[in-house]
Structures are given as C-alpha cells and as structure tokens.
Symmetry: C2
Subunit: 121 residues, 2 copies
C-alpha cells in the first residue's frame, strides 16, 4: 500500500473521546480501500504523529496525507505539526508528505454541522 | 427573541481559531433568523459559557440550546458543561436549558468530513 492517510486529532484523557475519530477512519477506509487509513494524536492518546508516520512508512507508504481533524487551525496545527513533519521528512527524504487544512474549516463540514444543529429542533 | 442557541467551543490562543466557529454561527443564524445564535468558549476566548448564557437570558431568552462544537464528548463536555449549566439553571429557574451532544459525533458531520478528506484527492 503506497499511500497512507493519517487522521490527526488532539486526543483526550477519556478513551471514548476517540470513538468518533475511529468512525471517521472507518468511513474514509471504506471509501478508499486501497489506502492505509490511520489515526494519530497530539496528546493523551497513541500513537503520536511521528510514530504513526514512521509506522506507515515502514509499512511501505510512499505518500502520506496528514489531515488535521480539528475544528480550526490553532497553534498546534500551525506550528507543532509542520515541525513534526519536517523531522519525518528529514529521516525519509523519498516519502512525499502532504499536510491538509483542518477539516473543520471546510464549508461542507460547517454546513453539515449547521444542519445537525438546526434539524435537531 | 425567546430562544437562543449557544455554540460552545474550546477556544485557543490564536484569534483566527474562532473563524470557522463564527462561520458556523452565521450559517445557523441564516437558517434560523428568529433565534439568537451566540458563541461561547471553554478557555482562551470570551465570553465563557456562563456569561453567554446570562447575556442571552438578560436579552429575553426563555430557552437555551447549548451545542458543544467539539469533535467528541471529552471530560470538558461531560463534566464541566453540566456543572456550568446547573449553576445557570439555579439562578434562572424559569429558563429551559437543553444540552446537545457534541456536534462532531453526528453521522452527517462524520460523513461530510470523510467526503472532504477523500474528495481532496
């Protein structure tokens, strides 16, 4: 499998916090059966982003797509993530790493949230 | 305006972090022109949830709908928010306060995120 998608989220102490992210990973995996879909966390949960990236590369990924599953681009996504990915790039110069925008900034996601809020009454 | 929706999010040091939440508030407001749509934050940004609730009540709201704009229900949403809302309820027994599930747990939001991730290639 030469392409991996890493869904990168904040993490929390409560193990149930990760369930919606795991559901998201399952939906994406179902839509892209030829791609390896992984999760990674900034804190409290494992693996962290560097570990998830290294695992995917060891498993043969030549392209990594890193998707911040955050509502918005804050300091973590803006500063910490590029630094982590630069370090992965330095170790694996043959691997292409693409960092996406925070998924919560996409208009389709904002619209879906609005509909959920309004439709619930 | 007798009904208010409070979009409650984590907050961050970076002021731009709140932009997608403000876009969400504008979309919800456009869909529900008769309802007062407000934002509130757990930390780093203002107003906090108690202040937003009190402002809405002072402005005449008889029903408050509190929507955690979080990817998942973590400790903040599970523990802190009910405590804050109990305190608002105690001060304003005539106001009905409804706490929703975290919006990121809705299947429609998860599906929208999955499509954004996959459609971007």
């Amino acid at each position: 499998m030469s392409r991996a998608i890493i869904l990168f989220a904040h993490g929390a102490r409560d193990p149930e916090w990760a369930l919606p992210l795991q559901r998201l990973a399952a939906v994406v995996q179902g839509m892209q059966p030829g791609v390896s879909v992984q999760t990674a966390f900034l804190e409290f949960m494992e693996p962290d982003l560097a570990e998830a990236a290294n695992r995917a590369i060891r498993a043969g990924a030549k392209t990594l797509v890193v998707v911040p599953v955050f509502l918005a681009q804050g300091g973590h996504v803006r500063r910490d993530v590029p630094r982590i990915l630069d370090s992965v790039r330095a170790q694996h110069p043959g691997v292409q790493i693409e960092l996406r925008n925070a998924v919560g900034e996409a208009q389709a996601v904002i619209d879906a949230m609005a509909h959920v809020i309004v439709d619930a009454g």
